[in-house]
Subunit: 291 residues, 2 copies
Amino acid sequence: MRRYALLPLFALLAAAAPPVAKSPGEIVAAAPASAWRAVDPDNLLLMDLGNDGHVAIELTPAFAPAHVANIRALVRGHWFDGNAIVRVQDNYVVQWGGADEKKPLPVGVAAHLPAEYERPRTGLAIRALGSRDVYAPEVGHADGWPVASDGKSAWLPHCYGMVGVGRDMPPDTGTGAELYTVIGQAPRHLDRNITVVGRIVDGIEAMTALPRGTGDLGFYSDPTQRLAITRARIASDVPEAERPRYQVMRSDAPAFAAYVDARANRRDAFFVRPAGAVDICNAPVPTRRAP
Amino acid sequence: MRRYALLPLFALLAAAAPPVAKSPGEIVAAAPASAWRAVDPDNLLLMDLGNDGHVAIELTPAFAPAHVANIRALVRGHWFDGNAIVRVQDNYVVQWGGADEKKPLPVGVAAHLPAEYERPRTGLAIRALGSRDVYAPEVGHADGWPVASDGKSAWLPHCYGMVGVGRDMPPDTGTGAELYTVIGQAPRHLDRNITVVGRIVDGIEAMTALPRGTGDLGFYSDPTQRLAITRARIASDVPEAERPRYQVMRSDAPAFAAYVDARANRRDAFFVRPAGAVDICNAPVPTRRAP
C-alpha cells in the first residue's frame, strides 16, 4: 500500500526468497495477442464529456439486444449530444442522459421495451470463476463478460463500471435514454431488477472523480452543476482513421485463467496470505486500447 | 435508478399493490435513539482538507490497539498537519500522510509496530450477517463494525470507506503515518495482509471525488496535484463546544437487524426480485451526526 519506490528492498528480499510470482498486472501485460478479442465497433459507444473526458462503453447485444438497438438509435438521433451527467451518488452510480425529461425521443426509438434483465444460460460458454458468490449459484465469464447464473438464466452482474438502463417503476419503462454506471461497491441487489447493457472499457475516471450530487439520491440539485456530454457516437459511424479500437481479454485464454488465479491468490511480494478466492467483481476483465 | 420525481406514479401503483415495505434508508431514519452508540472522541480522528472537506474517521483499538495509539501520537505530534493526499487510484484507494518520506516521525511515535492484521475471535459478540461470504467462513457485525472470521481469529474486512495502514514490504513497517481508505469494490484480498484501523464515518466524498493520480498506482506524479491536509485532530482534544459528535448503529439493535434484512431483500417498490442475500460490504453500518 506504499509506493514501489522501495524496489531495492524488494529486490533484496527476492534474492533470499523463493521466486516471486507474477502479479495480475504483469500477467495481463505479458498476454499474447491471441488472448484478446476486438470490441465490435457496432457495439462501441463513445462519449466526449465537457471535462475533456472520453468514455468508451462496450454494449452487449448478447444480453440486451432490444436495449442495445435502442441505444444505437438514440445515439444516431443525437439524444445524448448536449445532454448531461445529472447524478453522481457516492459509492453507487453516475447517471446521464436525463437532462430534459420533456425532450421527445428521436424518431425510430422505442418508448417502451421489454425488460431484458436476464437471458437463457444456453448458448453461453461460461468459464467458472472458481470461487463462490454471495448472490448467485454460479458465476464466471463468457466471451469477455462477467456472468451470473442460476443454471437456467444468466445475467450481467452489477460490478464496478458496468452500464445499466435507468427506468421508472414499471419494468418496461427503460429505453436507454438514461444510462448509469456503477462507481462503488457492486450493488448486486440490482441484478435482475434492471437491464444491464454493457461496461466501460476506457475513461471511467472522467466520471468517477466528479463532485457528488447533494440532492436526493445524488442528483445535482442545480442544473449548472451538471457535466455536459458534448458528443456521443457509435464507433462504426466514426471514420476508420480516427476510430479508437479496444480489446477485451478472452474468457477462454490461458492468460485469463492465470489472471483470475492471481487475483484470487496474490503471490507477489507484498502479500503474506493469499485470499484463496475472489469476488466476480474483484476480477475485472482486462481491457486495453488495441496495440 | 431514475429520479423519485415520479412519486405520483409510485403512489398510483401503491394504491393497487400490497403495502410497500420500508427501504433500508427509511428503517435507519426511523430507528430509535437506543439503536445508536456514540463514537468515543478518543477514537475519532478529524481531518480538514484543502478542498474544504472535513473527514471524520472512527478508529478501533479493539482491533488495532498499537496502531491506534501510534496514530493518536502522530496526530498530536502534528504529523498530518500540512501533509497531503498523495495517491488516488480509481476503484481502489485514496492514500495520505506520505508527502515527505524524509520527515522524522514525532517524538513518542513508534517506527516499528507488530502487524495487527487479526485478533482473537473470543471477546467479540458477532451478529451473523445471514449471508455467505466469498472470502471468509464467517461474516457479521460486532459493536458497529463489520467483522470477518475463520472461527479462531477475527479481522476487519476491506469494505468501502474502511481505513488501513500503508506499509512497505516487511509486515512491521506500517506505523500509521501513511493511511488509506477504500474507494471502490472491496479489495478483500488485502484482508489479513495489512492492518485495518477504522472507517470513515463522515465526509468521504471529499476524498472519493478527487482527480485520479496518473502516476504508477495512482500516485500524483506532480506534487502540486496533491491535496493538503490542513489540520488533523483527535476529537477529545477539541473543545467540547466545537467538537463534532457521531453515532454508529448498534449491531444488536432490532433496527440493525431490520436494516440488514432490507439490504438483503429489497421490497420497496422499485424492486421486482429481492436478492435474498447481501455482501458484508454492501450492508454498510449506518452512521450519523449525533442529533
